[in-house]
Amino acid sequence: MTATRVPVRLRVNGENYEVMTFPYKTLLEVLREDLGLTGTKHGCELGECSTCGVLVDGKPFLSCLALPLDLQERAITTIEGMAEAGRPHPLQVAFAELGAAQCGYCTPAMLLTARALLDRDPSPTREAIRQALSGVLCRCTGYVKIFEAVELAALRMRDGAG
């Protein structure tokens, strides 16, 4: 494929990036290859597994199906942006404590998707958690520890202990 590089401006984790890259590269590829943000993973690159999930304006978004040129004004959050000032998000702590990350490969997308849920529903039922995470495949955990970790994080955040 031949093309010339074009300038792309992206706002990722609150930082402004300007890169020269090929217009056909997906957001997933630009994040990983041009910005060095390899915390975002890939499982299929066809929009089937949600492993590449990031947040765009706070909503879960499949980075393998998006072109960065379409997202220049949007707020993109990746796993690298989940901790604030070096302090891990309560979801990250709960996932670590409860064994909700086994191999850790789906974990970035799982965490970001869970965060989008808790941002709009601080007290989700188990059923709401199931629904919210249903698009993100995990082959290790059987999902049970993930449900428990989301519930624990939600509890701690409500208690202000997060």
């Binding site: 494929m1 990983r32 290859e33 060095g36 943000l37 390899t38 915390g39 975002t40 993973k41 890939h42 499982g43 299929c44 690159e45 066809l46 089937e48 597994c49 492993t51 990746t78 796993i79 690298e80 989940m82 901790a83 891990p88 990250q92 702590v93 996932f95 670590a96 404590e97 409860l98 064994g99 990350a101 086994q102 191999c103 850790g104 490969y105 789906c106 974990t107 970035p108 965490l111 958690i129 199931r130 629904q131 995470l133 249903s134 698009g135 993100v136 495949l137 995990c138 082959r139 290790c140 955990t141 059987g142 999902y143 049970v144 520890k145 993930i146 449900f147």
Partner: protein, 792 residues
Amino acid sequence: MAPADGEDFAIIGRSLTKPDAMAKVSGQTRFADDLALPRMLYGRLLRSPNPHARILSLDVSRARALPGVFAVLTGEDLPEKFGILPVSQDEEALAREKVRYVGDPIAAVAAADEWVAEEALALIEVRFEDLPRYMSIEEAIQGQGEPIHGRSNVHKAVALEFGDTEAALSQAAYQREDMVFFEGNTHLPMEQHAAVGHYGQDGKLTLWSSTQTPHYVHRALGKVLGLPMSRIRVIATPNGGGFGGKSDIFSHELVAARLAMVTGRPVKITLTREEVFYAHRGRHPVLMKVRTGVDRDGRIASMQFTTFLDGGAYGSYGVASTYYTGALQPATYAIPAYRFEGVRLFTNKPPCGPKRGHGTPQPRFALEVHMDRLAEDLGIDPVTLRLRNLPRANSRTVNWLRITSCGLKECIERVAEESRFLARWKSMPPGRGLGFAVSSYLSGAGTAIYWNDMPHSEVQLKLDRNGGVALFCGAIDIGQGSDHVLAAIVAEVLGIALEDVQLTTADTDLTPIDLGSYSSRVTFMAGNAARVAAERVMARLFAAAARVMGCEPEELRARDRRIFRRERQEEGIPFAQAVQAAEAEDGVVSATGSYTPPRLAGPYKGSGVGPSPAYSYSAAVVEVDCDPRTGEVRVPEVWIAHDIGRAINPVLVEGQVEGSVYMALGEALMEEQTFRLGLHKFPSMLEYKSPTTLETPVMHTYLIETIDPEGPFGAKEAGQGPLLPVIPAVANAVHNALGVRIDEIPITPDRVLRALAEKARGHAPRVGPAAIPAFSFPPPIRADVPDEWKAR
């Protein structure tokens, strides 16, 4: 030294956060495809579109001429054959004379980026001559025309007999025979395989790879590249899921290394998701027949078990897989006479190999639905029938497997009680059913895949002056928590904190060997090696501390980063001070520990597969909710008990059990790896159905601790065994719910509807094989049986 069993542990048995957890939840863990080196090129493989064909010509000249292409390899560049087992050296990194499955690699390209590499692949011209295709067990057996390898499509046929099964059957009060089929399925790790090769000007090759078996990859690279192993370094990156799918030697690993040597630049190859489906090495499709004779009370008198494995195009682990389809039946039930016949056929499909449970989920399915029927025939409930056939702790099975601890009885009683199985199973509401099944599994294979006398796992420790411990071990964490097991054992013995242990793992230059994360061996074997290394370090520190404190080393204990007198705990010194004292006396504080499993193989050919230093046991009850109109089967609730020996970290063990239940439900109800004219029917994550959060049942997990005498702190395996009883428990539950037998896995809606239609027509209410192919097994090797079975 280390706290004796029964003492209060600081770390063992506690659900602490594992050492690699925070890196994983913050995206800092570096998987193979996350690596990028200066001047790195990208490699791609050209794969066969043909299931079986001779390569008449291969022209790569146009690909080589494409700007941005740095190298093109063909089979002539890597002619040395390889294979994971010494007896099956039948693979080529790039096929030379013929291709044997759709996806068989033929040529490889290294280019400036993946798009150029892809473009180059399209410029390679291959002319094929089609050969006859063998797409099933039956076709492989009957096959006329050119076989896939050598002179026959029979890869391996084995027959073993322990005791006189025919005589015992003829005297049995009751006997029955069943035939079932288990379709193949694949691991589907979330991370696609990736490898990065680097060849320095110093003539040293480094390969980073998402592999479960860096030591075996190291050996294969040496053989195929013709380099001494001392010039090759293999670093296994954390695996983004393995489940057995990254435990073979893969073409892309050898090719990435060779391309790096040819170009003088780093080369990365990451498989696409579609390629992962074709790389496979997953669950064998297996056709099975089982005949069992029992006494009036349902006690097994004799069993004959026959398996046909659809192996795919290459050997892989297949010889071991074949034996595994027969090995563990006598470890789960007390069987006084046992015959096993198994054959693996080559077919023109991606090679099968080990997936979680390696060769044992299929016979476990067969045996457990068979036992359910025996129970029904005899009017005995399924729980009681199992309890009447328990294996004994501290015994030898009729096929010479040595059982140490055995918690099967406790597992059975626990799930039966918690699920109220016996009170409920005969009076379930319409569409609802309960199913029961049990299993056993290895805690590590007792023999290495290549014959040698050396340890299977080794750990090296080096202490720093502040009391930190650097731990080196060849084991690779694939998500199962092996890093935690290593750190927890060392920290427990030394009386320090988990975070005081720094791990360096799975690097053939830096770490002593561990054979790999397969056969559920790491906790048991690397754990034992870690314990030995830590106890050696502790002895030195106690000696140094005793001199400082003016007491005897035997009086000392270590805990909370202190070394102190057991009887007068206020008298002690900081752990770091003991390290400094030891270092001042005799230099670097360092020690190694090794683990070699006891020699357990029985006195017969083929006895190398099955022996393990310990067996785990599991029992499961599954509840199903079936819709007779759609054939859909839902699983609302699962009860599972697992004999773990000792849970080094309960939350991680529960995670292994829950993950096993999940994977089993996927296999039982939806996952299948099937082909049309050699093409995978659904090589994508959308079409290859696997369970999501919405299909997740309520899981009740019970850990049964039997404190194995040889396991590290009494621990046994957790990663594979709990998968085994779940699949047949689903099948038994469907029968309980609908009165039909689905003797084929997966239990898909169409199969359920077919069985219900058969039932409605008054036919046998089942779907499943009616016959097995005619095949002449070799006469069985008649092995002597252990003394304890001779009296029977």
